[in-house]
Amino acid sequence: MVGREAVLALRDIAWRAPFKRVNWGPVVLALTSAVVLYLVLVPLVVALVATFREHGYLPFEPGPLTFRNYAYVFLDATTWTLMVNTGLFAAGSLVLGMAFAILFGWLVERSDMPLRNLTFALVIAPMIIPGMMVAIAWIFLLDPRIGLINLMLRWIPGWETDRGPLDIYTLGGMIFVEGFRMVPTMFLMISAAFRNMDPSLEEASRVAGKSGLATVSRITLPLMRPAMLAALLYFFIRAIEVFEVPGVLGLNAGIHVFSTRIYWSVHPAAGGLPDYGLASTFSLILVAVSAFSVWLYYRLTRKTYVTVTGKGFRPQRVRLGRMKYLAGLLFLAYFAVTLVLPFFVLLWTSLHKFYLPPSWEGLRSMTLASYGELLKDPGVILAAFNTILLALLTGTMTMLIALFVGWFVVRSRYRLTRALDLFAFLPHALPTVVIALAVMLLYLSFPNPIYGTIVAISIALTTSYIAYGSRVMIAGFHQIHPELEEASRVSGANFFRTFWRVLLPLSAPAFINGWIWVAVHAGRELTAALMLFSPSSVVVSTKVWALWEQGRVSVASALGVVLMMMLILISWAGRSAMTRMRAF
């Protein structure tokens, strides 16, 4: 038995070392808020000022103010066309994407379809092809003259034309490509909502005498309405700001949406001067529309906070019977259209010197020349290096900020916290093209070493991804019992020690998850990179774009394939780091 002296042995412990006299919590909160505010608000203000400047003036250069940009944007008929195009493009791809996402989500989570795990993987797999590469692949497939599918369709008697019958360079073509591109992420959101729904609500309906399908239509879908509406709003914002697909397919055909119009104002075609004022004014409209949608989304997701019930429950699955073969066929068709065909055609093109429709003869002329050209091009090596740097830098910056934002939002009760929450959410309302424009204007306005470097692109992307990152960290911190960190404080550890020794290790899974997402997205991102790159800060995506513009389609395809491999590598590295973290 140990006596009283044993416990009282440590009379000499310092309960308050002199250098620990600062209470760091509020200090770090203020710093985090300052960083978020700087990233989110300052560029916006700069862009707003730019709307009042004459063509050729930077926002803060001395010179006259003007309303000419507004007059041009609001009085010109093309703005109307722009709105109609953007609206149709967004609505069309939403309807297409949502129809497939709900159907797939229901089939995987609520029906007795076989091979559900495999199907789940198949549905989200197409995410690995970057948007620009998808669009390029579909040009190979559906170009009215040389598109592979068109060539095959022309074998059908009666369609023996030399153009068409299908044309990818149309609004319909753009909707088709973008709609399918939305399916994986939408599916993730919808299936999560299906999974989190309390199955006893459905069971109660079955017990009350309703059939499986009646339960789906009367109970399941109405309960899903908030989740579906939230997904719809989220993707509406994404659809009106997306650049890759309209950029590749629409720019050539002269079909403009807001994002491509903004890009076009800053990078006009033949030797024109960039018109920052006009670009900023277009941006303002785009921001207004998406800010409204974000506000709706924020209200919707706040009110219907999905409560996750216990894990491992077994929902009643609806029997498909023979319909399951049809369902299986549908998944195969989807997989072929969204992943196999595009990837195959890209790979094929990259293995030939020129674009050549796939054929048996073509097999013999296969060559690795395009990949050899990549290795010889010093620009490609630089781009690859820059891309990795951009992915690592953006992933780390974003998640570090998100880490602190998430912690403060979940745990602290300062008044500043709610403002921080809102500001970290705001980038959802800021299209990437607008953020890129604003960052460009900001760092053009005063002398600094950042403009034209990878850091500038990374700052724009960090701003854009903070919203996602902080949601991930907020969800992560909600999973950590608050007493775990309180125990650390009571044990005498200050804010930083608690963060470093307790919170960081415990929130590591969320952190790494978010990091992988951000890094992969930063690595494939085209919009901001295209707006902000300089010869020294080319990345792979902008290099592909440049090669494509130059008509070097084989080399562009080869680089696209390499990019996909790089992205898979980054996420594999992150995942293996994650499994190692799970060891404890």
Partner: protein, 360 residues
Amino acid sequence: MVEVSLLRKQFSTEQETVKALRGISFSVPEGQLVTLLGPSGCGKTTTLRCVAGLERPDSGMIRIGERVVYSSESKQFDPPEWRPVGMVFQSYAIWPHMTVFDNVAYPLRGRGVGKTRIVQEVHRVLSLVGLAELADRPSPQLSGGQQQRVAVARALVANPSVLLLDEPLSNLDAKLRQHMRLEIRELQKRSGITAIYVTHDQEEAMAVSDQILFMVDGEIVEGGPPQEIYRKPQKKLTAEFFGEANFVRGRIKAQEGDRVVVETPLGTLSCAGQNKSVGQEAYVFFRPEDAEVVREPPCRRASLPGHVARVTFLGKTVECLLELENGVTLKASVHPKFRPRQAETVHLVVNPDACSVVTD
């Protein structure tokens, strides 16, 4: 010792403002274990968290030992890491990414304690709670009781001035709970540490405490040693919370020394009670186990005739609901051997010394 004075705290949400603490004051003498007891939402945990520094009060003063750790007057607020406290949490809050040793060593690290000293101290407290041989075990592999001991060891290792225990047994099963409460009490007595214990379980409170402070609605209703607060409470609320109770409603006629004379439907009774104002409405209170039930009226003692209205078998005892002749119903627990029968006529004998007078 710990001194808390006029502590106020309210929580505001968008819909409403909840007054969690309405100006409570108490002190914990050196080396004693004081329990804050009360129903959920009474403010007991909030009080404990204010002492720990995890919650910032709106006003008042908190002193731990010689040091004022919070004072609204001098605008002082020490964050938790500056306060000489150790705390055992309801969930134990054992860090799953550390071993038992690392968990317990945590409070010593970063405080200028040498490495060998840390090893020494950790092993000392671990043997104190009987876990010395589990030092290298990853903490997720511990049972509930072991986690509890690790939490206690971690709270004690840096030799705090006060040990705070927030419902430390509520996550254990009933058997282990009874065992652990003895162990905690034993450890506290042996180490002579000052402790504040929070629980909603009155039995647990009585088993571990030197003093119990009964709280309701952000206020301390009353306080005292377990025996006293159980048998001679001042308030009806307290009497009810601590267990089955009988109340006979009446009016105070006179205060004679430490006895109070109350007029009740059962007649004029004189029982223990202090500082009651004459004319006030009051209750004569006694516990069911202080009532004796007999079949034949005793000759030398006053008894009340009645009949058995309901019998509930509880194992150790049988609880009888008696309906007296004047319509008053009272509960009495009797030994199972007595075998009371429904509707049987019996006589109730209550020792006046076991009664006390309580008010609303």
